[in-house]
Structures are given as C-alpha cells and as structure tokens.
Amino acid sequence: MPISALTGTRLRERRLALGLRQADVAQAAGVSASYLNLIEHNRRRVTVEVLEALSGVLGLPAAALQDGAGGALLEDLRAAAARAGAGGGAGAGAGAAGGAELDRVEEFAGRFPGWAAVVVALERRAAGLERAVEALNDRMTHDPHLSASLHEVLSAVSSVRSTAEILAEPGEIAPAWRERFLRNLFADSERLAAGSEALVAYLDGAGQEGLQGIVSPQEEFEAWLAGRGWHLPELEPDVGARDGVAAGEAADAEPDGVRALSAAARVLAAAWLERAAGEARALPLAVLQTAGAGVAEPPDPVLLARQAGISVVAVLRRLALMPGSAAGLVLCDGSGTLTFRKPAEGFAVPRFGAACPLWPLFAALARPGSPVLWDVVTAGRGARRFRALAWCDLRHPDGVGGVELREAGMLIWPLGGGAGALGGRALEVGTSCRICARGGCPARREPSIVGDIG
C-alpha cells in the first residue's frame, strides 16, 4: 500500500484540527509519542498497521492518507487551475494555470484537503453556472425578470471565481485574509445555491414566483386558471342547478377575472370556457366524482369517454380539473408543442422550450386512439411516482380532404401508498433536458445545467 511523503503532515493536520495531544493519540494508537512525532514530521515512513491504528484514532479513513487517494482531487485542482488559466488568457504574465503553483498542488491538497475540496466544488459550481449563463444569454434581452436573476448569479459567480483563484495559491495568503476569503466563499456559495434554485424554479415554472415573469398569453391564461384553483364551478350544470341557476345560464356567465386578461389571453380563455362548458354538460361532476371516489388510481378515461360520448382527451381534462384534484395535465398539438400545462406537485412542467421526450404524452401523439400507460418517476432529488395516462385524438375539421389535427393529453396522477404498481420498471422522466438531472439519458438533447447528469 503506497504511503505518501505527506502522510505525516496530514496526520498532524488532522490531530490538530481535532484538538488532540500528540501523546494521547500515540497512546491510543499503541505507539510512542516520539515515534508519532517523527511520523508527523515525515521523518519516518509509517507502516500500514500503524497507519490504520492512527487513522482509527483520528476518525479518518486510512485511504485518505495514502498516495493516490487524493489523485482525483489533485486532478480536479489541476483542471481548475488550467481552466482559470484558459479564462485568464496569456496576459498579466500568468502561466497556463492562471498563476497557481502546480508544482505545489500536492502540498496544498495534503495540508488543506478540506479547503482543496471546497475550491474544486466551487470551481465546478462556477463552471456549471457559467454554462447556464451562456445558454440563457439570449433570453436576457427579452425577459427583465430573468435578467435580474442572472445578474445576481453572475455577481456571485464572479466573486467565487476570483476568491477561489486567490485561495488556490498556497502559502501566499496571510491567515486573516484566508479566513476572510473562506467566509466570503461560504457566503457566496449560499447565495449561489439560493440563486440557482430560484433560477431553476423560475425556468420550470413550478413556483408562484414564475408568475411575475409571464411572457405569453398562454401563461397568462394558465396563471388565471391556477388562481381559480384550476376549476370553474360556474361551468358545472349540476352545481348551477343546485344553486338555483338554470342549466346553460351558468356557462354563459363570464368567470371573474377574464376581463382583466390581455386581449390574446382572453381569446384563449373564451375558447377554453366554451369547450369546458360542453364537456361539463356531457360528463357531470357527480359522475366523475363517483368514478374517482375512493380509488388510488385514475378511473378509466376510455370507459368514461364512451359513457359520456366525448373524446378521451376531454375526459383527461375533466379528471385533472375536478375541484381539489392533485393530478397534473399537459396537452400538446401535433407538433409536440405544449398547449396547456397544469403541473402536479413534484412533477414540474417546462415553462419554455420542449418537454422531456420520454413523456408518454409523445408516445401517444404517434399512436392516436391507443392508450399509453406508464408509471413514471421524476429524475433528480425528491423523486416522486406518478401514473401517466396519455391519449391522442385525431380531428379532421375540414372533412376528408382537409388537414388532420392531433391533440394529445397526459394525465399525471400522483400515486399514493394504496396504488398498485404496473408491471415492469417505472419510467424515469424529467422536465426538459436543460434542467433535468437524469444521468445517461438516451433521449437527452442537450447538457443539463443542474446537478450531476452522469
């Protein structure tokens, strides 16, 4: 087992960090204090047995003290230095490593392994955020909310980069300055974490904050519907009758807030309201609630559609927009463009750009009239399980010689403990490639800007 020339230094650093006396550690490890002293000053090669005893006393894996154990860390530090050099160009007399003393990298990693890991982690984070900034640069000119968010992230990245570069130069910084820069790094890393989370939440539209940056009539309409709890009781004939309103009259009334929408969003709302009123008459709430009552899984939309004489996609809409429904719903047209988005908790739907190509929605789009049923789990942290039920309707509004239109829908039904599992493995899906953490995805279109993508 190879043992580094700096093993003693690392042992000493660790002991001092723990506030232990040399004599106490030596006694606990079964060696003399003078022998430990020689080891700590790298004047004696430590045997494997003694190393294991010392690492046990110091609560440190023996592997962490050996040559090669920090190989990956050293490589990462060298890469960070090279990257800093590449960013720094040839100016200022900087070397290829941006001024970092590459010949002392092992000493740095050996004496300060924790700080070295911090430098590498921050460098990686900065690199990831730089990629994000590059990818999103175009949008800055169109979206002032995003511009402000990115400015905040860029400022933190700038601070991290400059500070990390300073810290990556071992032996030249006074302890007070080093402490100060480490505090700055810590503060900026927290700021970056918060900033990047806010940015991702904004991009995937999962949070209410996203509403501040509404940029399209579709978003405006969806925000209005979300504000109504995704349900419009005035369109329900059975509710109207119960409240003493003749069937049909309720549907004619314009729901609150529609007039406040932009003209384009009002057009979308009007079309939606007309269609939703017809679907409510065909498939009354009472029937839906009976079908869905007490079951952990979604009721069969094909059977409900046959019963009500409406399309399967219309049933998916009714199921997702029942009062209090936790189910999500996405609709798309024949091009795959999302035309309606109701996210389910734990299943984010992209606000901009294309969705995850693995969604069963798109499989259904290619097979009109055939149900596509999958259990899906969301990629990344806090993975949740859903039953995804997708269907595609075909329409020929101009008759036989006219265009063929497709509308596909996917119901996203949160699965509780009582739900049975479908056969086979659940399909791991994301939101959209740019913010998806799924590793090794065969359908990936572009690199992710978040997390490890494997």
Binding site: G85, G87, G88, A126, S159, S162, E165
Partner: protein, 122 residues
C-alpha cells in the same frame, strides 16, 4: 511610487478580491460601494485608474464615466468597466461613454491584472 486605483463596485466580496489582487500587485486601492459622488472622488483624488461596475446603486457606471469624461480635470483618467451583462449594446454604450476597457463578469484574476497593468502603462 504605488499606482493609485479607485474601485467602484457594490458587491463587497468582488471588491475585496479585486482589492487584494491589485494591492498585492503593488497598487494602492481605494473603494466606493456606489456611484454617487464617484466623479467628485475622482476629481479630488486623481487616481491613476478607475475601475467601475456598470450596474451600481444610485448612479450607473455609465453616468460615472460620462461625468469623469466631462470634467477637463479628470477626462484623461483611464477607466476599466466591469459588467455582468456582456451584450454588444452594453459594450457599445460603454465605449461611447469613454470607457477604455470592458470586462465581463465572471473574469479571471489574471485577466484583471493584465488589463490594469496595460491601462496603468499608458
């Protein structure tokens, strides 16, 4: 004799890092956290170089540069502008205002030093 640099940057951690690397390079660095009164400080202290962030509270970096260039006593002071916005139109506006050099955040310390040295050598 140490070259004097006035750094106008509202992000304290960035200002601290820049202060450190320039100070270590032999510069005497004074800092301001906003653009208000920056032009007056330049007139009073006559630094050898001004480093100014584009987006500042109170008064934008562009306004600071315009004020420096409008004053015969300070019009020749070289100015390096920092910005988190790298679009062409920002660069163009900076050049029109009289900025000598433009750096986009995040920048490397080596780039920063190279730019400062080049501007001080003029």
């Amino acid at each position: 004799m140490a070259r004097r640099v006035l750094l106008i940057e509202d992000e304290p951690n960035i200002a601290e890092a820049i202060w450190f690397i320039l100070n270590r390079d032999g510069c005497q660095v004074a800092t301001l956290a906003d653009g208000l009164g920056a032009a007056e400080a330049v007139r009073a202290d006559r630094p050898d170089l001004v480093i100014v962030d584009l987006m500042l509270p109170g008064c934008s970096g562009l306004d600071v540069v315009k004020a420096i260039r409008a004053d015969p006593a300070t019009e020749a002071v070289p100015v390096l502008m920092l910005t988190a916005k790298g679009q062409g139109r920002d660069r163009e506006a900076a050049e029109q205002a009289g900025v000598d050099r433009f750096m986009t955040k995040p920048f490397s310390n080596a780039d920063m030093l190279a730019s400062v040295r080049a501007l001080l050598a003029r």
